[in-house]
């Protein structure tokens, strides 16, 4: 992982996903080729149904693409529908997820939700517990650590989810509308958190968001429409006028 020429955190080639067949056939994502460097925080914009979640889950190795390939940390892990490694172990070691709904395990307390991720990353339970508490503290929810997810506010749940996502120092953080349930202030805080984590730990983050006010936090912006991705310039007004298609 520490090769001299910096390998990108994520690289995809011609990722395509087709749902259904015949009448119900939907091309949710078409020939998506992107490259995200370590330390980079990237926003993914696009109207509902444009294929953002499809892309994110394909890259997250939980929704195999119809064709195309995924490299993570320089390793080819997915080629079409074929997995080239133990995806679950790979996710555990190299990826962190945050979703719109908090997706915490309901029968585990906040601390335990983070701790389980650490233990799965083969940390001893005592050590994992300490680290989990530390992470929750860092994210400002330390005093809620012994509460169940249902006892936390939406923002607190998201923070715990973020803590869990970054617990194992993943190379790639994938977040699908993580701030949808939050007010814009808290939303921005979460985005800045990703920014900070990426800088500190050299990991990359791809964040699907609708919140245009926080776009300045990101290094780059991708936009998706009808399954096709293109790199956006930076802001609202650039999105409004139809750009010339990027050179592919």
């Amino acid at each position: 992982m520490t090769a001299t020429p910096p390998t990108p955190a994520l690289e995809t080639r011609q990722l395509t996903k087709v749902y259904g067949e015949g009448n119900t056939r939907v091309v949710a994502m078409q020939d998506v080729t992107v490259r995200v460097e370590r330390g980079e925080v990237v926003a993914l914009l696009g109207p509902s149904g444009s294929g953002k979640s499809t892309f994110l889950t394909a890259v997250g190795l939980i929704n195999p693409p119809t064709s195309g390939s995924v490299w993570i940390g320089g390793e080819l892990v997915q080629e079409g529908p074929r997995a080239l490694t133990d995806l679950r172990a790979f996710r555990r070691r190299h990826m962190g997820f945050v979703f719109q709904k908090s997706n915490l395990i309901p029968f585990l307390k906040a601390r335990e939700n983070v701790q389980i991720a650490l233990e799965l990353g083969s940390l001893g339970s005592r050590e994992a517990r300490k680290r989990a508490l530390q992470l929750l503290d860092d994210l400002g929810v330390g005093e809620r650590s012994e509460h169940y997810p249902t006892e936390l506010s939406g923002g607190q749940q998201q923070r715990v989810a973020v803590a869990r996502a970054i617990a194992n120092q993943p190379e790639l953080i994938l977040a699908d509308e993580p701030t949808a349930a939050l007010d814009s202030n808290r939303g921005r805080q979460v985005m800045e958190l990703f920014r900070e984590i990426a800088r500190q730990r050299g990991s990359a983050a791809i964040v699907v968001t609708h919140d245009h006010r926080a776009l300045d936090v990101f290094d780059r912006i991708y936009e998706m429409e009808d399954g096709v991705i293109r790199e956006g310039q930076d802001d609202l007004h650039t999105r409004a006028k139809p750009d010339p298609p990027p050179a592919t």
Binding site: T57, A89, M95, F97, R164, D176
Partner: protein
Amino acid sequence: MNLALRDVRHNLGRFVLTCLGIGMLLMIVMGMGGIYRGIIEDATLLVDRVDADVWVVQRGTRGPFAEVSRVPPSLQHRVAAVPGVVSSRDFVFHTIQREREGKPLRIAVVGLSWPEDRGDWLPLVEGRPLAQNHYELVADRSLGLPLGEEIQLGRERYRVVGVTTGMLASGGDGIAFATVRDAQAIQLELSGEAVRLEREARRTRARRGQLPLVQPALAERAGSPSASIPALPSQALTAVLASVEPGREEEVLETVSRWSDVTGYTTTGQRDLLLMGNVAKVRAQIGLFRALLTVIATIIMALILYTLTLDKLHDIALLKLIGAPNRVILALILQQALLIGAVGFGVALALGSWLFPRFPRRVILTEPDLVQLAAIVVAISVLASLLGIWKALRVSPNEAVG
């Protein structure tokens, strides 16, 4: 971190209710097995407890428990003379049904050979064995006759001098032990009026028949007690029991079988007669019912455990998403199933131990039966988990998203 325990902790109410439900179900299965054992145990109790090696009964009968048997009183001496027999004694067994405080009272009366057998072998919880030839009873607790109680049976009053526990006849009736003489009297002695009527009937028969013309003495004696009429010897014994030198049972049986009026059985033979005869159908019935109940319990438990897993599918998808290996997911499902099974079994055992002694007939929980049921519960838990695990391994981590 143990996920199964944490899920239980978080859903404690549901867990407790599930365990209670399964516990009650298992208690019924357990109880049915106990009733089955109880029937067998009760059926063979007397045969096992009465210390006899060979039972000599009326020829051709399967007595004394499976059917009525009558042997002459002199048989005891005949049996005693058989080579290999150490000692022999009289035995009387019959069931009576009387009324007591407006309720039917069924008593299995066992006559003990006085003075050789005073009932020292009885499992007494109160009082003492028989101490005199007459008018004493050792009654089983299930009869509800307290120590010191006097009870009118036939023409005499009998005092309860000892109380046993768990002494039941194959039909489930409590046993009262008396001396052979008393046991005979209880069964045969009629009320004064009945005796007068019987004697009058005999006199009438004597007047009408030809016999008194040939034998005038018979007409004279027609009105005396029946025991004094030699033409009608009393055959009031049920069986004769013999203690035999070790290893010579077959030899004694061989000798006895040559006599034309009696049949001999070993204790094992008696047991078989009881189990094949008296209780065979009840046993088969309960046995089948128990098997059926076990199958039903299996299905219900499997469904409950499967449903519990289905409820957790989203959580399992989430665990997969964050990279939990299958072994973690397997452990979650399996441990919880086993926990529910184990706690359910414990509930069944606790509830059963409290409830079963209150049943009218004995419910016997034997260790092998309990171990067997425990093994079945483990098997059910694993089996039911496999269903859930099969489902859980198929769920895509993508389902956690959305």
